[in-house]
């Protein structure tokens, strides 16, 4: 009788554990922009681009940001979609600030350099747009806005590029 009771308890506990783990695991697939620190901490290695942008935007103050989904990707980044494994991108939606964050995970490290050219051009474009319009915001475009880490490449223009870069690096290793 005692053995049976213990087995029942063990089975229930195992089922409960599995249920709770499943609940956690299912949460980080579609959320773009809100995966909080507890979720990202559990997936530090090789995080999804959406998790990286979410973490950075959670840690650093951004203006209101508009997400660039795949249907609008080519409008802002002329990147071959077939070579992208995943990406996540946001731009300042109001047109008031140069803030922008885009993280690409490429299928191959060889594809990263082509994206770098695209992102460098994007930085140039933002520089042209904002240098006379909001000179006070130009500190965000500091020449260190395009970062590469393995198969990952990011464009980061924000009020704390160093902090965002550190997060990007830590989440892509």
């Amino acid at each position: 009788m005692r053995k049976i009771t213990k087995r029942i308890i063990a089975t229930l506990l195992a089922a409960a554990m599995l249920t709770s783990l499943t609940a956690c695991g299912g949460n980080n697939t579609s959320s773009t922009g809100t995966t909080n620190s507890s979720a990202t901490e559990s997936s530090v290695n090789a995080s999804a681009p959406a998790d990286i942008t979410s973490k950075i935007m959670g840690d650093i103050k951004f203006p209101s940001m508009a997400e660039i989904k795949s249907d609008r990707l080519s409008t802002y980044y002329d990147v071959d979609a077939d070579k992208i494994e995943a990406f996540s991108a946001y731009i300042c939606g109001s047109g008031a600030y140069p803030d922008e964050i885009a993280v690409f995970k490429m299928k191959s490290a060889d594809d990263v350099n082509a994206v770098k050219t695209v992102l460098d051009k994007r930085v140039e474009s933002q520089t042209t747009t904002f240098k006379d319009y909001t000179p006070d915001e130009m500190y965000k475009i500091d020449g260190k806005n395009v970062i590469i880490s393995g198969n990952y490449i990011a464009l980061i223009i924000c009020s704390d590029n160093a902090g965002a870069t550190a997060t990007f690096n830590s989440m892509t290793k």
């Binding site: 009771t5 506990l13 956690c24 951004f62 209101s64 508009a66 989904k69 109001s94 047109g95 904002f130």
Partner: protein, 301 residues
Amino acid sequence: MATKKKKTNKFGITPSVIFLNLTVLLFLFIVFFFAYNVIKEDTETTSSVPPFTAVTEKPETSAPESKPETENSDTPSATESENSDSSDISAPESDTSSENSEDETSSDTDTPDTYFDKDYFEDALFIGDSISTGISLYGFLDSENVFATQGLAPSTVLTTEIDGKTFSDKIASFKPDKIFIMLGTNSVGYADAEYLVESMETLISDITSTCKSKVYVLSIPPVTKDAEADQSNYLTIEAINEYNKKLKEVVNGTSAEFIDFNAVLSDADGYFNEDYAEMDGIHFMGSTYQVMLSYLQKQTS
């Protein structure tokens, strides 16, 4: 032979099993607590439906309602709009979870209408400054529908190239059915209002002489009290209202139509309703464009 007998209760469960149970229950409680918070945060701060994510905090304003300074007689206070929108603009962010959803067409709610039909604006062209760039940056309309850039002013619109096209090029290639113009914010703080409205008159004349598009001219939006206090932008409610008043007079003398969108965005004191404003108190939040497009559709259909 003293066999060590484990202590058990009447159910035969040892204290270690009870302890294990309690530990696991505590763990489950923590896990579910975090999971609940994650899900709750998900639903509150984002939505996958609208093409924007408001990551920004609202501008920190202390006592925004305290300055009763609306001596303007013409534009603000939401009196011109014929429907309930004007008095229902107190909580714009609360109704932004679904772009273009049909169920948002109700007109008797406490929130402003954010419904608009993207197809209605398929042949529309928006001419403006950085504020108008947000229409396409947020993805509410395609970039084809917008001829706007940072710093554009009434006096520079005819000579400025955007993406390699002048205004005339754009009109000729796009052939818009409707043209919406909202210009002046970049100049109104320091340029003479008369000069600005003359430039707008020239612009309207240029458009109507080259194409048959219906032209709508929008009053420029207000700024928040904090933005007005920021001397660096030269923007004051008084200057904005003066410009809008003269603009209305000029536009009414043309074939174009004046639309007082400023009134929709203003609070009781004539300042930019904080809920609509970006951090700088001048530009728009994402939902503000929905309100704008919804309002324009109603006013022009």
